[in-house]
């Protein structure tokens, strides 16, 4: 179900997380903040990769789930809710919301589904912006405290990495289980899947809901990381950016979201000398990558490794999925 040996994939992901943790000890606070941002976005991208990459349901609603998670956390923590409880609640809330947002997928697929989820994201953004009694409107909610004892930048990074580790192991387990196989079956051939007893409707909704729950978990880390929430980070742009993370890393590849989020977080820093132009360059890189290597950076790396190992040109990508 996972390309490559499942054990090796999990080990690679965990080693990467560990490396990031160690790296933080030699970095300035800003570097530590960037790594935290990477961990947080990776969680949401893993969720979207499940929905889009594995189950084949294109969703532009991931930003909404991140927003809901962030607002839930920002609103509940001051009322004395422990962080673990807000995290679980954000995940659960978004799981439910994901079931709801997944319903259109039972009727339409492909870009029709993209349109509906895009419209839902736009509506959710309007609600976040306009319902000031709940969300603080454009003023947002400031001074969100980080949970003790993870108040320092580095300590909070550790918390993010801990959550990312748990998410990584859980996702790995899920993808290796019959559920993961059913998700792929859904993506590749829903009619054949149904003829084999796969409950297509049920799994479609689950793929949305689980992806959404991870979006919520991302949000509930994002709020105390940035310590301030307002609507604009959860607009459509975030959905697009998460989608591009998944695609750049490699849609439907286990390691894709980690790589895609890394590129999205680090590229602006590397291209800092270009100032505002970095988004132009990023978008160009993404288009180029989509054209020459539709299975993303992980697919590209896999092919290069293959070639090296065999000493001759590899077969076309193992993941040449359109």
């Amino acid at each position: 179900m996972m390309r490559g040996r499942p054990g090796a994939l999990l080990a690679t992901a965990l080693a990467g997380i560990l490396a990031v943790g160690l790296l933080s000890f030699v970095l300035e606070p800003y570097g530590v903040y960037l790594l935290s941002l990477w961990a947080v976005y990776t969680v949401a991208a893993i969720g979207l990769n499940l929905t889009l990459g594995y189950a084949g349901q294109i969703s532009l609603a991931q930003a909404t789930f991140v927003g809901v998670g962030a607002y839930a956390t920002a609103l509940l923590m001051p009322h004395g809710w422990p962080f673990g409880a807000t995290l679980a609640l954000a995940g659960g809330l978004c799981f439910g919301l994901g079931l709801l947002f997944g319903f259109p997928a039972l009727r339409v697929q492909g870009h029709y589904l993209a349109f509906v989820t895009l419209a839902l994201t736009t509506l959710a953004f309007l609600v976040m912006r306009n319902e000031a009694w709940l969300t603080g409107g454009v003023q947002g909610i400031a001074h969100i405290a980080r949970p003790v004892p993870f108040t320092s930048g580095r300590a909070f990074l550790m918390l993010c990495l801990l959550v990312l580790t748990l998410v990584t192991v859980a996702t790995w387990w899920l993808l290796r289980s019959p559920w993961g196989r059913a998700f792929i079956a859904l993506r590749e051939n829903p009619i054949r899947a149904a003829s084999l007893g796969v409950d297509v409707r049920g799994y479609t909704l689950l793929s949305f809901a689980i992806g959404a729950a991870l979006g919520g978990v991302c949000g509930s880390l994002y709020a105390p990381l940035v310590q301030y929430v307002e609507p604009s980070p959860f607009a459509l742009a975030l959905s697009l950016s998460l989608l591009l993370m998944v695609v750049v890393g490699g849609s439907g590849s286990f390691l894709g979201p980690y790589v895609g989020a890394l590129v999205a977080v680090l590229l602006p820093e590397w291209l800092r000398f270009m100032q505002d132009y970095y988004l132009v360059v990023y978008a160009m890189v993404v288009m180029l990558l989509l054209a020459v290597c539709p299975d993303g950076l992980v697919g590209l790396a896999g092919r290069m490794l293959d070639r090296q190992r065999r000493g001759h040109p590899a077969e076309p990508a193992d993941g040449g999925k359109a």
Binding site: S177, R181, A194, V198
Partner: protein
């Protein structure tokens, strides 16, 4: 999972006066037949005679306009393909339908997993849903052992056809509906393929319904044949009898 205890003598599958029209065209126009346990029923008929529509009605892919489908004496009309499958009905498709991005073994496990335990149980249970041994057996039966770890998309057409059929047997079905199993399979493979199907019929006690164009294949595999023309059954009997039925000959020559 098959429903417990059909009374002896009850047909595995029974169609009662099935109708299905598209616009004004009556693709299936009052078809009734039953299939006894262990039978291999061939369904033949010229192109456009309504065979595929009949199959789709039997399998829950299309709701019939009128009539009933009974499985082990129980009305299953209008049930979804997935629900029917979980009751022991499996099928192959006319066009190849394997999952190209899953390995051969994974394809087989997928074909069986939804029949094992509860959904939540499968999430927390073994990754292979305890089906590795069953998959190995099927790999062996269909001579696919050497290909087990390859992606199904990389197999040859004939190999995919074998896999497709093997998947239909993974869950130990009571009833298998095969849609043109011989189509596109080369002659050398065909004999072996027929032997596999016959062995599955005898070993597993499955009942088959086979749509097929290849007459030799039908005549040598099936125990009984029905011929459909213009949405109705025009002949029903032993392969020999149907082949010699003048109406059948007329239906084929007439087109």
């Amino acid at each position: 999972m098959t429903p417990a205890g059909p009374t002896p003598g009850t047909p595995v599958l029974e169609a009662r006066d099935l109708h299905r029209s598209f616009g004004g065209v009556r693709a299936v126009n009052g078809i009734s037949f039953s299939v006894a346990p262990g039978e291999i029923l061939g369904v033949i008929g010229p192109n456009g005679s309504g065979k595929s529509t009949l199959f789709n009605c039997l399998l829950g892919q299309l709701p019939p306009s009128a009539g009933q489908v009974l499985l082990d004496g129980e009305d299953v009309t209008g049930m979804t393909p997935a629900a029917l499958n979980r009751r022991g009905v499996s099928r192959t498709f006319q066009l190849l339908q394997v999952f190209p991005q899953l390995s051969v073994r994974e394809n087989l496990i997928l074909a069986g997993q939804e029949h094992v335990g509860s959904r939540l149980g499968r999430l927390f249970g073994r990754p292979d849903a305890g089906l590795t041994a069953a998959a190995e057996r099927m790999l062996h039966l269909f001579r696919l052992e050497a290909l087990a770890d390859l992606l199904a998309g990389g197999l040859s057409y004939g190999q995919q056809k074998l896999l497709d059929a093997a998947m239909a047997f993974m869950a130990g079905p009571r009833l298998v509906l095969l849609d043109e199993p011989a189509g596109g399979v080369n002659l050398t493979l065909l004999g072996a393929f027929r032997e596999r199907l016959r062995a599955m019929n005898q070993e597993a006690g499955s009942t088959f319904v086979v749509i097929e164009h290849n007459m030799d294949f039908v005549m040598s595999l099936c125990t009984r044949v029905i011929c459909i023309a213009e949405g109705q059954i025009i002949a029903d009997g032993s392969p020999q009898a149907v082949r010699e039925n003048p109406q059948v000959i007329e239906a084929y020559l007439g087109h």
